[in-house]
Every structure is written in C-alpha cells, then in structure tokens.
C-alpha cells in the first residue's frame, strides 16, 4: 500500500510568486492534515480536513495560504503571494476516521524556499 505522497519534493520560488503543494493521502484515509516546519522551529499544525471539509484551520498563518481538498481525496496548499518567511518544510499527514485515535502517517514533506 502506498504511503502519503507529496509533490514537489523541493520548490524554489521568488518572493511574490505563487506555489501550489500537493498531498496524496493513503487511500481510504478521510483525515488529512497539513503541518509546516520553519528552520529551527517546531513542526506546526496548519489545518485538518475531514473528507472535503475543513475541520480545523486554526493554524493557517494568514489569508495568503489556501488549502483545498476537492472530492475528499488529494489536497493542495497554495501560497499566494509567497513571502520570505514562508520558507520551510511542509508536511502532510493522513489518518483513518472513526472512534479512538488513529495514527497519523506522514509524507516526506515539501521543502519550500522563497528567495
């Protein structure tokens, strides 16, 4: 079974440009999460989808970030326009839905560099 995949693995863009990150969760996982790690800092929660609905987007930094999950499968995270402080590694994770805790499986991350 394929794990969580993310594309691209690296992206280098200039300040003011737009970048779209993609996450494909494990098949059948209805929970999808986005996290970000800025260099030297902790991994921070951005938002949580349950199927196609945003369950919690309390961690989104500002309105330059837009996450979508049309059809409840893959998700995209768009940064527009990108700023220098957006540089970091963006992780996606997915888990099953149901009662109790279901382990979050992480993707390899997308390293975003804004110059």
């Amino acid at each position: 079974e394929a794990g969580v995949t993310q594309f691209p693995s690296h992206s280098v863009i200039e300040k003011g440009q737009t970048v779209t990150l993609r996450c494909d969760p494990i098949s059948g996982h209805d929970n999808l999460y986005w996290y970000r790690r800025v260099m030297g800092k902790e991994i921070k929660f951005l938002l949580h989808f349950v199927k196609e609905s945003k369950q919690d987007e309390s961690g989104m930094p500002n309105n330059r970030f837009l996450a979508e999950r049309t059809g409840g499968t893959y998700s995209t995270l768009k940064v527009q326009p990108a700023e220098l402080e957006d540089s970091g590694v963006y992780f996606c994770a997915s888990s099953q839905i149901g009662t109790g805790y279901y382990e979050q499986y992480f993707g390899p991350g997308t390293r975003l560099t804004v110059t």
Binding site: Y35, D56, A93, I97, Y101, P108, G109
Partner: protein, 116 residues
C-alpha cells in the same frame, strides 16, 4: 492552547549508552502523548503513544516512555542505544477532549547522534 517543551536540542551518545530525552507539556486538560522519530532521509513515524492506563508505554525498537501526570512529563528512554538510533525525535500532544483526530502539537525536536 497546549505547548510542548523538549529540553535537549542536540544529544550525542556512544553506542550502548542509556538514553533519556525530556518532554514536558503545558495544557489545562487531559492529553494524549506521542513520540515521533524521523530517521535520516525518511518520513516522520510514530515511535509510541499514551492515551490511558499504564503510564509506562513501550514502543518500537526498544523505546519506552513514562507519563508522569504530576510533572506534566513524558520522557523517552532506551536502556542501550545503537548507531541506527541516530535520528530526530519529536514529542507531541493532542487534546483528549478533541477526540482522536486533532492536529498534533509538537516540541522543537531533539537531534540524537550515536557514535559507534
């Protein structure tokens, strides 16, 4: 909101040494507790978790952690480390009241280097 503090950012040990990585959390309610590990070039993966019951939990690869409620701590231990334990280790929490699907709150991570 909850927060997590990991005491050591870099730890260097020799093989066969004992390991203890500190983790403290701050939250007014009850929490679920986790340790994740990221080996070089690999994805983050779950090492162990605590939800309830026995406060001493065992995880993969010989790791264990003890939840001490009075100290708000969840320290990770391994009696004898191996070179292959070189990795970055993250402590994390979620609110128990949030059910099983909350986003994780992570500590800053600890880089562990094991010297042969």
């Amino acid at each position: 909101a909850q927060s997590v503090s990991q005491h050591n950012h870099h730890v260097i040990l020799s093989e066969a040494a004992s390991l203890e990585l500190g983790c403290n959390y701050s939250y007014g309610g009850t929490v679920n507790l986790f340790w994740y590990v990221q080996y070089p070039g690999q994805h983050l993966q779950l090492l162990l978790k605590y939800f309830s019951g026995d406060p001493l939990v065992k995880g993969i690869k010989g790791f264990e952690a003890e939840f001490i409620k009075s100290k708000f701590s969840f320290n990770l231990r391994k009696p004898s480390v191996q070179w292959s334990d070189t990795a970055e280790y993250f402590c994390a929490v979620t609110r128990k009241s949030g059910g099983g699907a909350d986003g994780l709150t992570f500590g800053k991570g600890t880089h562990l280097i094991i010297q042969p």
